[in-house]
């Protein structure tokens, strides 16, 4: 599949502050590509350079074969942008906004169909200033799609949304991709990246740490498996501690927690089976994207609660 966005060695500073040090990534047609990283990692600056809103100090960017600076006019026709904080005039009605913005484009989407798809059909004559956070976000997506773009950039789309609205928005993004739009998604939520993205660029302190699939990222971190179960009968711990795959056995009430390497599950279950012990409520906990993030950047990712607290009013 051809690349629709190519970024090579992007560098951008504001005065003495290096916002983006060295970022490279390639987005393939039809994928949902995530840019994941903590606040201040340089995610937004990176996409602003892709959108042509900022001029890079160094590096090359190509979007659909266009130079975001030189070919601004053509790029705006083909690239839909959802901004982190781009409001509309409060007294403008939703339907008016979409009709107005659709007139800017050569081959616009039908505002009505878009409102239908985004659940805004009954909000057509509501003023933008009166929309809820979730509705505003959906209007923002609608505006990113109104030009019938081939690529859409969605920046911190679900920040400030309640969990239900966030899940609805994720479904929407999957619907949009199903229509063939390539999506560049900026986020600092692990769950969001894991759920939506085909591939992820992990960015930290202005640099691309790694680009991989969510599963690939997780595999990169060598972590222990944790196996929990409720044994049907008491047994001697030495049955398990003697296994080379197992590193520890702990009892928590009547629950046994066994830690070990990737093959521990197999070893543990066969030993238990040989001793006629049934492992009830067996559960295996594996490393997630969050563990990968910590392992690869050496830092904890932003927790959701922290994130929404640190951004008051951003909804």
């Amino acid at each position: 599949m051809p690349a629709v966005i190519e970024v090579h060695n992007l560098h951008k500073s504001y005065g003495d502050t290096v916002a983006v040090d060295d970022v490279s990534l390639t987005v393939q047609e039809g994928e949902i590509f995530g840019i994941l990283g903590p606040n201040g990692a340089g995610k937004t600056t990176t996409v602003e350079c892709v959108e042509g809103l900022r001029r890079p100090d160094r590096g090359e960017i190509s979007v659909l074969g266009l130079d975001p600076q030189r070919d601004r006019a053509e790029l705006t026709q083909q690239l839909g942008v959802q901004l982190q904080d781009g409001e509309l005039p409060g007294r403008l009605k939703v339907g008016e906004a979409l009709t107005l913005y659709s007139s800017f484009y050569r081959t616009p989407a039908d505002p009505r169909a878009l409102m239908e798809m985004l659940g805004l059909a009954d909000k057509s004559s509501t003023r933008c200033g009166k929309l809820s956070g979730g509705q505003r976000q959906r209007l923002s997506i609608a505006l990113a799609l109104i030009g019938n773009p081939r690529v859409a950039v969605l920046d911190e789309l679900t920040t400030g949304l309640d969990p239900q609205a966030r899940r609805d928005t994720w479904q929407l993004i999957e619907d949009v991709r199903a229509r063939g739009v390539t999506i560049l998604l900026v986020t600092h939520f692990m769950e969001e990246a894991e759920r939506l993205c085909d591939r992820i660029a992990l960015i930290d302190m202005g640099r691309t740490v790694v680009v991989d699939t969510p599963a690939g990222l997780t595999e990169r971190v060598q972590t222990e498996q944790r196996i929990r179960f409720r044994p049907s009968a008491p047994f001697d711990d030495r049955l398990l501690t003697g296994l080379p795959e197992v590193t520890g056995v702990v009892h928590r009430g009547d629950v046994v927690v066994v830690t070990g390497n990737d093959n521990a599950l197999n070893a543990v279950t066969s030993v238990l089976a040989r001793n006629n012990i049934v492992a009830r409520q067996l559960r295996v906990e594996q490393a997630g994207l969050e563990d990968a993030f910590v392992a690869l950047t050496g830092r904890r990712p932003e927790s959701e609660r922290h994130a929404s607290q640190s951004r008051p009013g951003r909804n």
Binding site: T76, L88, L92, R150
Partner: protein, 261 residues
Amino acid sequence: MSVTTTTAAPSATAPRSALMRLVATELKLFVRERIGPIWGVGFPLLLLVIFGGIHSFRKPQKDFGGATTLEIYVPVLIAFSIAMLALSALPMVLAGYREKGVLRRLRTTPMGPVRLLAAQLAVNAAVTALSVIAILVVARVAYGVAPPKQPAGFVIAALLAAAALMAVGLFVAATAASGRAAQAIGTILFFPMMFFAGLWVPIAQMPPLLRHISHGTPLGPAVQALQRAAEGHWPHPQQLLIMAAYAVVFGLAAAKLFRWE
């Protein structure tokens, strides 16, 4: 939303119809905002009706060289309208657009923010023109104030006054941090300017010092130029030059300082 293959296309500027739609939308928002229609158009007309209702205001005054007080006030009310629209409505909207990211969003579309600025100025200019005409018509029809005897001079004076005030308004929009701040600054500028335009004391009756200051403000020369044209004379070149200077200096400064974000 089909993913049609977008073939090589001609230049990607927004079509003319889009620009017209943008102007129409800005006009709609201007009306919904209410500040412009009420204070920029309605209030000067209300003052005109109040002044026109005062019997003594319709009598020729020796102090004004035989003109009535109402005739002296018509140019002042025109200045009021121009200033209110350019200093209060315009900066509030534009600085608010920047603050809220409306301009930033437009930068990501084929329309671009420059055209929004142009649409705003067009709406402001059109409403100003309408308001000036309304004041002249009401003054003529209801209170028998003669229309300007030097129409060309009157139009030039009004255009320069609007240009000077809009330049100051754009400068405020360029430097204010938010829509609210811009409106506050605009209002603070409005009152002294209107004072020196003769809203409370006609310029002709001001003490010499105040009259000199008035000559250097944007609205002092505006009112005097409109007054002269109403009486049938060409505006004094110095009056036109001062307004033009305000338009150029503040216009250039605004263009240099204006940020989209």
